[in-house]
Amino acid sequence: MMLKELREKVYEANMDLPKHGLVVFTWGNASELDRERGLFVIKPSGVDYDQLKPEQLVICDLDGNVVEGDLNPSSDTPTHAYLYKMWGDKIGGVVHTHSTCAVSWAEAGRSIPCYGTTQADYFYGEVPCMRGLTAEEIEEAYELNTGKVIVEGFEGKDPVALPGCLVRNHGPFTWGKDAAAAVYHAVVVEEVAKMSRDAELLCLAAGKKPEDILAPQYLLDKHYMRKHGPNAYYGQK
């Protein structure tokens, strides 16, 4: 069996999704890239988390073809494959969930504005919502085109500084240096989706406009840099 260690890591990352309350039923998937081999490990499609075993995970190439595995890979596999193909030098893990608060922003077709430092610690700006897919794009190759729409929406944006997005009418996709980091960013997106929703409601209830509560750019700079900049002082050396 190939990539035994990576299988274990991806298994743990997948199991963390229901643990963090991001996934009910089988509504999520996590994967991680082996950069040298140009292969990634992903959850099999429709397998319950409490039944999942590391050896059931599926190995795919960057065109989404199965290289090893008895089960079908996640139906979102071509999306993962395309993100690795385009951004494989920058990201090593991808996660997709249908976590409630993030999905409701995606369904509303709205990017999550940056109203505070919880978001600014991880996202250097808003969590962007991608454009919807056209009927032709859906018909032709839905999952692959989902990946293409994400990469298109990130033109001029850095997927390291913005480690996730919302796919319109669908839900959040997040990524990171490995599958565990992608899970972490999925938690961040769900948390900030909840906080931003309530911040807007409270702001509107007080007769203010949501634009008035956007965090100022200098605060975003400060928070992002103290965690990720060259002079970062968050965490241990």
């Binding site: 505070g116 919880t118 948390e191 203010k208 968050y234």
Partner: protein
């Protein structure tokens, strides 16, 4: 040094994680030793499962490390500022990014006192500070957060005993108490109160604050000289 205080802060941090209001490492806890003027705080970016009493960091009131091999919380200077101002009244402080309280911080609003649960622990509206200016963020970000909370309580005529928490605009809640354990308890309360207040406004958009005489009664029976809540 401060072995006993280290143990207290360690236990308080465990209790904070057990409340379920903290994700990952999005919190910090400290306890203050009045005699030495030093405080013990959780290290930066270390998961609570990996925190042990010896990994906690001892700092002075300027926020400088006095003992410890690890970096202290990035918010250490905020804790230092609270103890520098209120060290005669409080002995523990906590900061989290608990979601209900954070959304109030982000909306820039004080949490109105809509009921008696709030009044039992926070005597009045829980204040939200003003935003820091660009210069403040650049020169003294963490110190200024403390200054703004201290100034706001003073402007409200509140003291840190009857108002045991505040919101920092855009950031999130701080809570404090006589020791780290009490600060954790107050933070848990603050999150609950924030949640109830949000839902209250959803149920009734024209809702008014609870009458002052009700707050007075509740706060008095809990904390007044003839308080009768709890056991003697």
């Amino acid at each position: 040094m401060l072995e006993e205080l280290r143990d207290q802060v360690f236990e308080a941090n465990k209790a904070l994680q057990a409340t379920g209001i903290v994700k990952y490492t999005w919190s910090n806890v400290s306890g203050f030793d009045k005699a030495s003027g030093l405080f013990v705080i959780t290290p930066s970016g270390v998961h609570s499962d990996e925190v042990t009493p010896d990994k906690l960091v001892v700092c002075d009131l300027k926020g400088e490390v006095v003992e410890g091999t690890m970096r202290p919380s990035t918010d250490t200077k905020t804790h230092a500022g609270l103890y520098a101002a209120w060290g005669d009244k409080i002995g523990g402080a906590v900061h989290t990014h608990s979601s209900w309280a954070v959304s109030w911080s982000q909306s820039g609003r004080d949490i109105p006192c809509y009921g008696t649960l709030h009044a039992d622990y926070f005597y009045g509206n829980i204040p939200c500070t003003r935003a820091e200016t660009e210069t403040e963020v650049e020169l003294s970000y963490e110190e200024t957060a403390a200054t703004l909370m201290v100034e706001r309580l003073a402007a409200d005529g509140s003291d840190p005993i009857s108002m045991s928490g505040a919101l920092v605009k855009y950031v999130g809640p701080y809570a404090w108490g006589k020791d780290a354990q009490e600060a954790v308890y107050r933070m848990d309360m603050l999150e609950e109160v924030a949640k109830i207040a949000t839902l209250t406004e959803m149920h009734n958009q024209g809702v008014q604050e609870a009458p002052r005489y009700l707050l007075n009664y509740h706060n008095y029976r809990m904390h007044g000289t003839k308080g009768f809540y709890g056991q003697q």
